[in-house]
């Protein structure tokens, strides 16, 4: 598809247009970070920060979602939650969009689809924004992504200095910008140059290709005990993760009326794996830590054919204990790759010098 060029004013007009027929969400400055909020004009958005506090997942798979309402006196008359309104999510970073592509596989892929996710996803247009200066927590290139990645998006914007190059990636994306001017060759060259610069700026060079193979036989490796020690098993990493998608279902009733609600759940909570019998197969903190790492780099490869870490770095940024998943992977590769204890120690020293 051919690319278009938009001035900031034109983008502003598009936003106003979109806001008339649905909801527009974009990163908005909150204290010293940004969060996706509903906006009515582009001026409210802050497109300068790399990653929002929570990923765009919360707009497709909200933390609390009413599935249906019921009355105990009329059990046959459950009322499905109202249809969601059409939405445009503006300023989605490529890692977040890749995360949504992963969620699509779980919730809207082959086999069973999730009604509530599907309904929102079908009415969502994802307008991405290519990254130019990575944060110190970014590592998308290490997990198959790119600062200018297009996966999952309908439209990708690249800020080439006052103007945006808009690359439509789907028909929906094309329909949104088709009346704009076509991008000139110079604009496209500038866009490509910025993309390769951004990729070169990604410091992280970890290689996760062999990891799956190593993890396949690592269930009982003692390395988990050591790696998990600093982890306090809060759910912060899972809640900020663009691809974590576990939920819990609960009924809330008042007198004879009630609603069935689903809320985010986390494998880091010991309640997550608690059986009705009282048995808990994942009671040990290390087992819970192992589960998250295994899930990202092994289980989802088995389930949907790809690693479910998109390198957004949110778990690194928000971990209260300062655990860095890049380092976890490095140490795992060293420990599982039959390297000697000396190698581990060299890694220790390296990390210490890195300060």
């Amino acid at each position: 598809m051919k690319a278009f060029i938009l001035s900031a004013e034109e983008l502003g007009r598009l936003v106003t247009e979109w806001a008339k027929s649905g909801a527009v969400y974009a990163p908005v400055k909150v204290k010293d970070w940004s969060e996706f909020r509903r906006i009515s004009s582009l001026a409210e958005a802050d497109l300068t920060r790399v990653n929002t506090k929570l990923s765009a997942r919360s707009l497709l798979f909200p933390q609390c979602e009413t599935m249906f309402r019921f009355e105990t006196s009329h059990p046959d008359k459950a009322q499905l939650a109202a249809e969601p309104v059409p939405q445009v999510i503006l300023g989605v970073r490529p890692c977040d969009a890749a995360g949504i592509a992963v969620l699509d596989k779980f919730f809207a892929g082959q086999g069973e689809t999730d009604t509530f996710y599907r309904r929102r996803r079908d009415k969502t247009i994802l307008v991405g924004l290519a990254c130019q200066v990575p944060d110190d927590t970014c590592f998308c290139t290490a997990v198959g992504g790119s600062p200018a990645g297009t996966r999952g998006l309908d439209l990708l914007l690249t800020d080439i200095g006052g103007h945006y190059v808009a690359e439509p990636l789907t028909e929906r994306g094309e329909a949104a910008v088709k009346d704009m001017n076509e991008a000139a060759a110079a604009d496209l060259a500038k866009k490509d140059e910025l993309a390769s610069k951004a990729t070169a700026a990604m410091a992280e060079r970890i290689d996760t290709r062999k990891l799956k193979e190593l993890l396949d036989t690592a269930d009982t490796n003692p390395v988990w005990g050591e790696l998990s020690l600093p982890c306090v098993n809060c759910g912060a990493c899972t809640f900020v993760c663009p691809t974590c998608h576990c939920f819990d279902i609960t009924d809330e009733t008042r007198k004879d009326k009630g609603a069935r609600i689903r809320v985010w759940d986390t494998c880091q909570s010991c309640m997550y794996s608690q059986h009705a019998s009282g048995h808990n197969p994942r009671l040990a903190p290390a087992a819970r830590f192992r589960n998250r790492t295994m899930d990202k780099f092994r289980y989802t490869v088995d389930q949907v054919g790809e690693v479910s870490c998109v390198g957004c770095g949110r778990c690194i940024r928000e971990c209260p204990a300062g655990i860095d998943i890049r380092e976890t992977v490095e140490r795992l590769m060293l420990a599982l790759g039959e390297q000697s204890a000396d190698a581990m120690q060299t890694a220790d020293c390296k990390m210490q010098k890195a300060k």
Binding site: K31, P230, N233, T250, I261, P320, D348
Partner: protein
């Protein structure tokens, strides 16, 4: 010898002589300006230990998890040592399970700024320790009451400020998990019969969680600020904790985490306690 060198040397000795099975301290994180808790069990592992203004995590939080291993040496700044006192008071650890390596603390920095909790710290030096590593730091003059401005607001304004703040809560319970006081095998948020706190992030449920968490901190919280620093959503959790600490101080003259033999303020009473609020 710098404090860091002394720390490493001492940790190495303790592990080599098998006086302890583990030293809990910090090591540099992968990202510049960050540190992460370190659990060293071999003498040679002590070379990577650090202690400076990046080391915010309250290490006392880990003790209930590792105390079964044997005697543990733990590096404690003022607030960590007070948390250890709380744990001792509440019989979660015994004194002989601990070897406390005290360090003076000049405050923890977050993104280059002094952490909010540290700005009003009254106890930068350990209140209990077996040995000091390095010198004590000068005790700061009493800080002005950080709640003064908030308390001047009207009740409706106060409610609104708190409701806005906790509306961001994603109920990840990082505040609970990093807190050395939160060691209950089953937390009130995890019970479902009765279900004390609703699972949703509605204002009412979030407020219920934060108010009740504050109640459970009364007379126990040492105001280390781990919860506020740990909160991924940047909620000012310390506002609640500071308030309960202030109430307990004003009403019962008690300060948490100072005297191991005294019971926690809310597990005790004085027949003369003020009761002006009771009809």
């Amino acid at each position: 010898m710098s404090r860091e060198e002394q720390l490493r040397k001492r940790a190495k000795e303790l592990l080599a002589k098998k006086e302890v099975v583990m030293v809990i301290c910090y090591r540099a994180g992968k990202r510049p300006g960050t540190a992460t808790p370190a659990f060293v069990t071999r003498p040679d592992g002590a070379d990577s230990l650090v202690f400076d203004d990046r080391c915010g995590m309250n290490l006392a939080a880990y003790l209930p998890r590792v105390k079964h291993l044997g005697r543990i040496a733990v590096v404690a700044k003022g607030c960590d040592s007070r948390s250890l006192v709380t744990l001792l008071k509440e019989k979660q650890v015994t004194r002989d399970q601990l070897l406390i390596l005290g360090v003076g603390c000049e405050g923890v920095k977050e993104k280059g700024k002094l952490s909010d909790a540290c700005a009003t710290c009254a106890y930068p030096n350990p209140v209990i320790c077996d040995e000091m590593i390095g010198e004590k730091v000068t005790e700061p003059p009493p800080a002005p009451d950080p709640l003064a401005d908030f308390e001047k607001l009207t009740p409706d304004e106060r409610w609104q400020v708190l409701a806005d703040d906790v509306s961001r809560c994603i109920r990840c319970y990082a505040c609970r998990q990093v807190c050395p006081n939160c060691y209950c095998p089953t937390c009130f948020v995890d019970t479902n019969s009765p279900q004390w706190v609703g699972k949703t992030t509605a204002e009412s449920d979030n407020m219920m969680f934060h108010l009740m968490r504050a109640m459970h901190m009364a007379g126990r919280c040492v105001e280390c600020g781990s919860c506020s620093r740990g909160c991924p959503m940047g909620i000012d959790l310390m506002r609640f904790n500071r308030k309960v600490a202030k109430i307990v101080k004003e009403r019962f003259g008690a300060t948490a985490g100072l005297v191991p033999d005294e019971p926690p303020a809310l597990a005790a009473f004085d027949p003369g306690d003020k009761q002006e609020f009771i009809q």
